[in-house]
């Protein structure tokens, strides 16, 4: 009985537009166990869960390969409802609760208990009368079964602490009859420490009732406390499946990261850069950025002139906020010094005027004027900030000069297009990124900040972009600050890498530090704490 497998996914492969995100992944969950699913951002965890639930995003993009068995029977879920009927539930990261409804109403949402009335006999069961007492009793049962006696079933959801909402969400899944498997997708990400502990306890209670749990999290210590088994994915591939007892935090961290780091910069060239602690290009002092979802909560970093400095870390930990704050897109507190001069970031364009150029992580949203020509995109910032490419007292565009410059950039960066007049929106991702880079370089910056430079572009273009970054650093002496979710990328290019966790610099590391050290740092765990 104990060893009976409740879910078994075999040889799962999935392709999005020619990009293989899952490669022959095997995944097996036994009855009543807590099974941790681990992997970096983009390792394929979400895609695997989308396959399991038969999400439309899977079927709309050509389906998947492989087989899924629930309780030993082959299934083919066409939509999440099929999965629900088969006894698989999901506890969402973003709460799917209606704030104005009370707890019982939310728990019974879509599965209300009614009894027929005269009207409903004529017009259908949508007009049934509600059996409030029965519904409240069911909700109470569900809440009690996860040990949440202190949540009142008639309390309104709006205004509840976040942790309580999470518990209501869980109760709703438990209340569904015949539930066999529950997926928790980063449930503790938004919880306080005590709430998270409580949640882990509840997970044990649920598992003890014979319901299996798939637990997706980035927090290594949580899975060490609560999980029975762990499956690790990396770059869409199955790495290993092990009982927790036979592994360690360090080993898991290593397995998650473990990848060949390819040096992109040609080491045979002598490194002529002179980098010293005396010449600081960019200094952050108690730097805070109020960017929703990417809060920076007090950072102190010194970036030396001439180096390539990386910011890494998991999504939502704040690394993206760093660049956006400096560029004035979000409110900032603390001090930012550029070559010793403190910037007044409440003034728009302050960073640009002080020699910082920025390539945004949100290419289509922030980085480009999609309906304008490549030429217009490339010259825009330089024109607005430095009055470059304009003539006369009315600052009329110097079309000839702009065109010449755009052609030069197109050639230098190998932007594949029909000419400078093509609209930026019609280019491929990689070429759009090159246009963004061209715009930044046109400003002749002393510091170049690039955020997620390779997001959403194909492998060939990725390499070109990274090599180009290295080249402008070596040849033009531009200090490059690179923010990226791709550790491999950072480690192949950067001189130093700051790992950001919970809005702070957790640790500044060297690119050749061991994989395990990176894995632990990403999870925000001190090595010393683990070794003990």
């Amino acid at each position: 009985m104990e060893n009976e497998s409740i879910l078994s996914m075999r040889n799962i492969s999935k392709e999005y537009f020619g990009n293989r995100v899952l490669k022959n992944v095997d995944f097996e969950v036994k009855k009543g166990e807590i099974h941790a699913l681990m992997g970096e951002n983009g390792a394929g965890k979400s895609t695997l869960m989308n396959v399991l639930f038969g999400m439309p995003v899977i079927h709309n993009t050509g389906g998947f390969e492989g087989e899924v068995f629930v309780d030993g029977q082959k299934v083919d879920f066409r939509n999440p409802r099929d999965a629900m009927l088969a006894g698989i539930g999901m506890v969402h990261q973003e709460f799917m609760l209606i704030p104005a409804f009370n707890v019982a109403e939310n728990i019974k949402l879509g599965r209300e208990i009614g009894h027929p009335t005269a009207l409903s006999k004529v017009f259908g069961d949508l007009l049934d009368a509600m059996q409030w007492k029965q519904m409240a009793a069911d909700a109470r049962n569900a809440l009690d079964s996860i040990g949440m006696q202190n949540i009142e079933e008639y309390a309104q959801v709006a205004g509840m602490p976040i942790g309580y909402k999470q518990f209501v969400e869980i109760a709703r899944e438990i209340d569904k009859t015949g539930i066999k498997l529950l997926v928790f997708d980063e449930p503790t990400a938004v919880l306080t420490e005590s709430e998270a502990e409580r949640l882990l306890e509840i997970m044990r209670v649920i598992a003890s009732k014979g319901i299996a749990i798939i637990f997706i999290t980035h927090r290594l210590n949580e899975i060490m406390t609560v999980a029975d088994t762990v499956t690790i994915l990396r770059d869409g591939e199955f790495v290993t499946r092990k009982p927790i007892a036979e592994t360690s935090v360090v080993q898991i961290a290593e397995l998650m990261i473990g990848r060949k780091v390819e040096k992109l910069v040609d080491d045979t060239d002598e490194d002529k850069r002179q980098i010293s602690e005396d010449r600081i290009a960019l200094e952050l002092v108690d730097y805070q950025v109020n960017m929703p979802g990417e809060l920076v909560k007090g950072m102190d970093v010194k970036i030396r002139e001439g180096e390539i400095f990386g910011f890494g870390g998991l999504a939502g930990q704040g690394k993206i906020g760093i660049a956006n704050g400096i560029m004035g897109l979000y409110d900032v507190n603390g001090e930012v010094k550029v070559f010793g001069k403190t910037l007044n970031l409440s003034k728009l364009g302050e960073a640009l005027r002080n020699g910082i150029a920025f390539v945004s992580e949100d290419r289509r949203g922030v980085g480009l004027l999609l309906n304008e020509s490549i030429e217009r995109n490339i010259i825009f910032s330089a024109m607005q900030i430095d009055d470059n490419f304009v003539n006369g007292p009315f600052k009329i565009l110097d079309k000839a000069k702009a065109n010449r410059h755009a052609r030069e950039m197109i050639k230098n960066l190998d932007i594949r297009c029909t000419g400078p007049a093509q609209t930026a929106g019609s280019l491929s991702g990689g070429n759009q990124q090159k246009v963004c880079l061209a715009r930044a370089l046109t400003m002749v910056p002393r510091i170049l900040i690039v955020a997620e430079p390779t997001r959403g572009i194909d492998i060939g273009a990725k390499k070109l972009v990274l090599e180009y970054l290295a080249r402008i650093n070596r040849e033009l002496g531009v200090t490059v600050v690179m923010v990226s979710s791709e550790l491999v990328e950072l480690r192949s290019l950067c001189d130093r890498i700051a790992i950001v966790a919970e809005g702070k610099v957790f640790k500044v590391m060297a690119p050749d530090d061991p994989d395990a050290a990176y894995g632990l740092a990403m999870a925000g765990m001190q090595e010393t704490a683990v070794e003990a």
């Binding site: 364009g349 945004s360 004027l369 999609l370 304008e372 024109m383 009329i396």
Partner: protein, 372 residues
């Protein structure tokens, strides 16, 4: 076949259909025995009359406030500037003997006052629109209606003494229609007026070639304004404004104050509206006060949309093509229908149905074509 499809896509289906309708009207008018010369003159006059009001849509759209239904604000400024200029002219005696200098002085004063007023109104209005981002067009429509109502009160209260302006028996308050015959009416477009008032070297301002009337002065003014707007959108400020209208975050990240650009665009649109109504009135020969300008915004919006503009992008070609099609159809429709069904006020009713039909059609087809 593909080429054919591409051509349709480039021109835009709405423009093809409306253009075809326009051609049908032109051809049938010839068959119905209407004089081509007078039809041509009529279309030309109407297009020039309305073009600047339509041109006023461009800065608004480019700056990101959408189609400026609140153009009535500029119209109000233009009308107010005109009546004040006429009152000044009356008190100083500029227009007493209809000499060219006095007429130009009146027109110049009207333009100057209106532009100052429109800049002020437009800036305040721009600040308002910055507070209602996302629903600018709805708010603009009601601002447009409100200013007309407000101006109604102002018109009634003005204590002027120029007999051309005030109600003859009342002794105060503006007339609902003020004739410009004794002022700057027609000096850019009417051959008779030009001949009577202008010196020899300005006789070219409006000429009659056979049966065709050419309002050269107004055409030149329109051309100059188009070129100015075109140049503006190639200047640093204009390019920043276009960017603000297309992508606010992009613009911010390049160190540009998006809100200021939007205020600038709104003010520019309002100023063009003010100039537009003065030119309109000058060609038409009358200042129409009170509720007359209530729906003018809709005609401008419809014209620029038919010309191929979208809610987010508009250019000068859109303005000229759109005004030609829209005003062309309106000026053709009445005589043609008159010939076909001449029963009471039916032709006028048909004209209203057609004009509102085109507006409705334009608003429902805001996609436009790619090439202008």
């Amino acid at each position: 076949m593909n080429k054919f499809k591409k051509v349709i896509e480039d021109i835009g289906l709405p423009r093809l259909i409306i253009g075809a309708f326009f051609l049908v009207l032109v051809v049938s008018s010839v068959f119905l025995g209407l004089k081509p010369a007078s039809i041509f003159s009529d279309i030309l006059r109407r297009v020039v009359m309305y073009s600047i009001l339509v041109l006023a849509m461009v800065p608004g759209v480019q700056a990101g406030i959408g189609l400026n239904f609140g153009i009535s604000l500029g119209i109000a400024a233009g009308l107010f500037g005109s009546v004040v200029a006429m009152e000044i002219a009356f008190r100083v005696g500029w227009t007493e003997n209809m000499n060219a200098g006095g007429l130009w002085l009146t027109l110049g004063t009207a333009l100057l006052l209106s532009i100052v007023l429109a800049t002020l109104f437009g800036s305040l209005y721009g600040m308002l629109l910055n507070r209602v981002k996302g629903s600018e067009m709805t708010v603009a429509t009601y601002v447009g209606f409100s200013i007309i109502a407000f101006m109604n009160i102002v018109w009634l209260m003005l204590y002027f003494s120029n007999g051309d302006l005030i109600w003859p028996l009342q002794g105060r308050g503006m007339r609902s229609t003020v004739s410009l015959a004794g002022s700057f009416g027609g000096i850019l477009s009417d051959p008779v007026k030009v001949q009577a008032t202008q010196p020899a070297w300005l006789q070219w301002l409006a000429i009659k070639a056979g049966d065709i009337t050419l309002p050269i002065g107004a055409i030149i003014l329109l051309t100059v304004l188009c070129i100015l707007v075109w140049f503006f959108f190639r200047s640093k400020a204009g390019i920043a404004m276009s960017a603000a209208g297309e992508n606010q975050l992009f613009t911010r990240s390049s160190g540009i104050n998006v809100d200021r650009m939007r205020i600038m665009g709104t003010a520019l649109s309002t100023v063009l509206g003010a100039i537009g109504i003065i030119v309109y009135a000058s060609i038409y020969g009358f200042l129409q006060l009170y509720n007359a300008p209530l729906m003018m915004g809709f005609a401008s919006v419809a014209a620029v949309l038919i010309g191929g503009a979208t809610v987010t992008r508009a250019n000068i070609a859109n303005v000229l093509i759109g005004t030609l099609l829209f005003q062309g159809i309106l000026s053709m429709a009445l005589p043609v229908i008159n010939e076909v069904v001449n029963i009471g006020t039916l032709p006028e009713i048909m004209r209203i149905i057609i004009s509102n039909g085109i507006i409705l059609y334009a608003l429902s087809k805001t996609k436009g074509g790619r090439a202008a």
